[in-house]
Amino acid sequence: MRVTPASRATNVIVLVAFMLFTLVPLFGVLSAALQSPDSTPRGFSIPWPLHWENFVTAWNVANVPPLMLSSGIIVVGVVPAALVFATFAGYGLAQPRVPFGRALSILFVGGLALPAEALVSPLYYQMRDLGLLDNRLAIILPLIGLYMPFGVFWMQTHFAGIPVELIEAARIDGASSWRIFWSVQLPLARSAISALMILYFLWTWNQFLLSIALINDPLQRTVAGALGAFQGQYSTNIVLLCAGSLLIIAPSLIVYLIFQRQFIGALLQGSHR
């Protein structure tokens, strides 16, 4: 190796510094969450004894079970539908000779850089007119729509990369368009679809703006949206706020640590748009 022990040591030191920058805030919150429940935590201290019971209090006060359930319902309402619609459309647009195919692709891609802020007021009045403001549909429906540009682009790119010979072979065997989709294309699209699924899941679970703007009742929101309300209510009780926040982010952390390879892969591919 050309890398000398000295430069290897600098490398390790630099990397450790970056890791500390990432991890120290999280440990800071954990240490605050474990302080005595009536105390006002101070700075840079290791609490003793460790008050694990704070997590039980926060579990109840922050309504963790109903919030997880609420987020789960929103995810189930958004992700499968968005996956199916995006996959269908990506497949359709990747076919040869689609009328207005190019115009439609451009129409979808045009939505890629559009921030949710540009849509939040009209969506609010649209949902009000539909009488959905106290209903999870008020966020489920817009999210499916907002996810289409990326998903369609993503799946179209995938399907366009499949060799034509493969499809022609199936067609000569007399397979219908649906049959080709179902038994030839779909199995090949597995990894593209699962990466898209991870992205859709994360974006939905972490959705904040639309969640607080379009749903009045915090218990109907996503976990991320409920964090806003929780912080508003308990901003003075730092111990409880930290414990509750950790509980709310725990599922994302656990899922990430289990599927880290897939998560990193999906987010990286997802950014190459």
Binding site: F21, R97, V98, A118, P122, Q126
Partner: protein, 307 residues
């Protein structure tokens, strides 16, 4: 679903007839569900945003036509204009710092690639990327608090005189929320750039070594040019995040103190839901969208040209 028909005959036909034969309208059925959802919940609201932006409307009563007044206010109203300026300041923290540090981290991880340490570092650095941004806001609110970690640390090392309530400080609040953005984006940029380094032809590093290049020269001559595509992607994603930031700032400062950390996203939210000035909010939303496109489209061109 009908079979997409291939026109096998090469015989010349009237132009119109041939086009009709070669088209595959059945494919449109596949696109229809996505198109309906996209049209109903993104394209339609977008047209409404543009429409509202030309009216004075409180969201309930009668809207009155106001021409370009709302657009003029985006640039003349101190608060609204400040929000746009802040969004661009945040690019320093959301984009420049994480991409810069990410380059360093990626180069370092490349040299350490044999150890398990490098892969652990990747997983750790990437972690903030999967958390809700609102959670990042809450975590850092405590870190920055008057009795929080940063001030505690400063007191411990004898720098008690520089302690302050960071998020309520007129000069430091914007950089402070900016650092939260750096914290979120660093791992993303690192991992993205690292993947790019993996695609660089190893013989280029070999050649640089034979030429006697030191690490800095090697980085400038091989790594940096090889990463142009990845740098463009990292910049695009993080610039969009900076210009349309909302979650972190809503939670950490809600725009304060005064309007020192106000950003367009937050101003749009306040104008719509607090002060019921839907027209103003919409004009700002249109300006924000145009600004994002004006920055991202040239960047993407750059990426495509070199990639």
């Amino acid at each position: 679903m009908t079979l997409p028909t291939e026109s096998r005959s090469r015989a010349p036909r009237p132009r119109g007839a041939r086009l009709r034969l070669r088209w595959n309208p059945a494919a449109l059925l596949w696109v229809l569900p996505a198109l309906i959802m996209y049209a109903a919940f993104e394209l339609y609201p977008l047209t409404q945003t543009v429409r509202y932006s030309f009216y004075r409307w409180d969201g309930i009563g009668v809207a009155t036509w106001s021409g370009f007044d709302n657009y003029v206010r985006v640039f003349t109203d101190a608060e609204q204009f400040a929000s746009v300026v802040h969004a661009f300041v945040l690019i320093l923290f959301f984009t420049v710092i994480p991409v810069g540090l990410g380059l360093v981290a990626a180069a370092v991880i490349r040299e350490l690639r044999r150890g398990p340490f490098a892969s652990v570092a990747q997983v750790v650095l990437f972690l903030p990327q999967v958390l809700p941004l609102a959670a990042a806001g809450i975590i850092w609110t405590w870190i920055y608090a008057p009795d929080g970690m940063i001030n505690g640390f400063l007191r411990a090392i004898g720098l008690g005189f520089v302690t302050r309530d960071w998020l309520s400080d007129f000069d430091f609040a914007l950089p402070a929320v900016g650092v939260i953005g750096s914290w979120v984006s660093l791992g993303f940029c690192t991992v993205l750039l690292l993947a790019g380094i993996g695609k660089i032809d190893p013989s280029l590093y070999e050649a640089a070594r034979l030429d006697g290049a030191n690490r800095v020269q090697e980085f400038l001559a091989v790594t940096l040019p090889g990463l142009r595509r990845e740098i463009v992607v990292a910049c695009s994603v993080t610039i969009i995040a900076a210009l349309s930031s909302f979650d972190v700032i809503y939670v950490a400062t809600n725009g304060g103190p005064g309007y020192q950390t106000l950003v367009p996203g937050l101003e749009i939210y306040h104008l719509t839901f607090t002060s019921q000035q839907v027209g103003s909010a919409s004009a700002l939303a249109v300006v924000l969208t145009v600004l994002i496109l004006a920055v991202v489209i040239p960047l993407q061109r750059l990426g495509r040209r070199t990639g």
